[in-house]
């Protein structure tokens, strides 16, 4: 069966200026219960790779530089 991808707006937003993933920080990726965050090969910054968020907030609460914001997913906000 052929596959297509479709666009989805994701709830977790990372401020690239504050994010220090390029310095080796992986805190948000480590703590996420759904394992939806990754570090981008292109920018070296954290981002939400999978739209499977429980909007629970460990990523935001544990981020050492306050770079992460958890919004309410569009479908339910």
């Amino acid at each position: 069966m052929p596959l297509a991808s479709y666009q989805t707006s994701v709830p977790v937003v990372v401020d690239d200026v504050k994010c220090i993933a390029d310095k080796g920080c992986t805190v948000c990726v480590d703590v996420c219960p759904l394992d939806v965050l990754r570090i981008s090969d292109m920018t070296g910054k954290a981002y939400m790779a999978y739209d499977e968020c429980w909007y629970c907030m460990p990523c935001e609460a544990d981020c050492p530089t306050g770079a992460v914001t958890v919004n309410i997913p569009y479908l339910l906000k």
Binding site: M1, L3, D30, V31, C32, P33, L34, D35, R38, I39, D41, A49, Y50, E52, C53, W54, Y55, C56, M57, P58, A61, D62, V70, N71, I72, P73, L75, L76, K77
Partner: protein
Amino acid sequence: MAMDEIVGGSSEVSCDVLVIGGGTAGPMAALKAKLKNPKANVVLLEKANVKRSGAISMGMDGLNNAVIPGYATPEQYTKEITIANDGIVDQKAVYKYAQNCYGIIEELDSFGIRFLKNENGDYAVKKVHHIGTYVLPMPNGETVKKALYRQLRRARILISNRYMATRLLTSGDGRVAGAISINTRTAEMLVIKAKAVILCMGAAGRLGLPTSGYMFGTYENAANSGDGYAMAYHAGAALANLECFQINPLIKDYNGPACAYVAGPFGAFTANNEGNRFIECDYWSGQMMLEFYNELLSGKGPVFLQLKHLHDKTIEEIESTLHKVERPTRGRFQEGRGTNYRTESIEMHISEIGFCSGHSASGVFVDDFARTTVPGLYAAGDMASVPHNYMLGAFTNGSVAGTDAMEFADNHDFADFDAADVAKEYDRVMAPTRREDGIPPNQIEYKARRLVNDYLQPPKVTRKFELGQRRLAEVRQDMEQQMIARNAHELLRALETQSILDCADMAAHASLYREESRWGLYHLRTDFPDKDNENWFCHTLLSKKDGRMTSEKRAVQPYVVPVADDEKDLYDKQRIRASA
């Protein structure tokens, strides 16, 4: 190598006690096992990261079932839980919990978790239940996971994060021999031999589909996909009363608690669209949920949690709790909607269905030592059958499980298992990665859960259930023959989808077996609308026998705490009656 790239391969380790699930019950079970025998190896396996996993990922606002001397007695609590469960309770485990939980509270206190005290230094326990007083707020409830983690490090528990357990290993004579797990980022298999295994894998919370359509917007932590229920089933363990679904009153769309347990003791209440109370008590029981459901469907819905009559300072205090712990994005959600608790009530709705003994009674059958029906296999927390056990029950029963499992491990050697079982499981797990073409797991999962909503949600109609079983069987066939996983993360979701479908099948099977209505909305069968104590005052145990799903009755064990005839139906009187 990029994260999520499939590496594959398999390795083997061994330990004395293996605890699967690092949420609430799991850490406590691991600690107690290690305490019982400090020389033994205890491994704590976790699908996410123990630092932030499980139902209490962001902490908890309080204890919902604290039996504290001076406020409640173990006898009173046991009686209340028995009545709230329509009598279908093996009281020994509940009574043991009620006796032990105060000690666990003191232990948690020694970990640095604080509980609300009044000016005299006594615990400030609040009343939410119908009869007794058991709710104890936690002023620094956001620190629970950190406090637990410190204890795990201190005790030198071996923690393996990002490993999802997929199946238990058993010996020819049915004893547990270990577990098979898969790294969620590399798809490498890890076989863990163990003398005893404790399952603490949480609720089956990704069973029904939230009405928002957002698959991960569940009430339970969406990582809790019922893997423990599925694993116990495939290992031959019995599962109790799965037809007693979990359904909870939640903030509409946000799908988290509002939370009446926090706000109720301050004077908040559940109201209909006329602003009137319609239920006597906000404690979550099937009988209360039935009245909630009836009100939603009547012309008096929607249903609201009303706080606006409270003093500004009181609301501020409630907000400071609700927007800080458990589901802190509640505050962000209300802000986005422009809902100010001072002027507007919170619109409520009912959750999707799930299995969770934390709030209802559906779980892997355990006795008062947390032993399942498989020798050497234990279960605790939301997935074990001790009813209404909430967070404190997970801690307390996790503690019981840890101690007893280590005793078992001290007296038994490793059980043998067939190496062919590992090879077979490797093939089963990796199958979606070997297909070139097919259906991604998110579509299989969505369809299965949409069918759960369409056909299995109460009120339960036999004809709908039969149709649902047929449709779910079609989805299973698609899952087994066409599901694809293109990276390790997608394989994690594919494996979770298999747990979800197993749980859906169990939910349907168990519900059709019990031919009566019981537990209010949780098991409301339109074809059998009445409670039938003559034929169905019993547990139902579901298990896999000769490869097939079967159900049987199991007698309720003699009560430890007698319940008088005029007390038995106290929870049936939830609706506020018009004044005479």
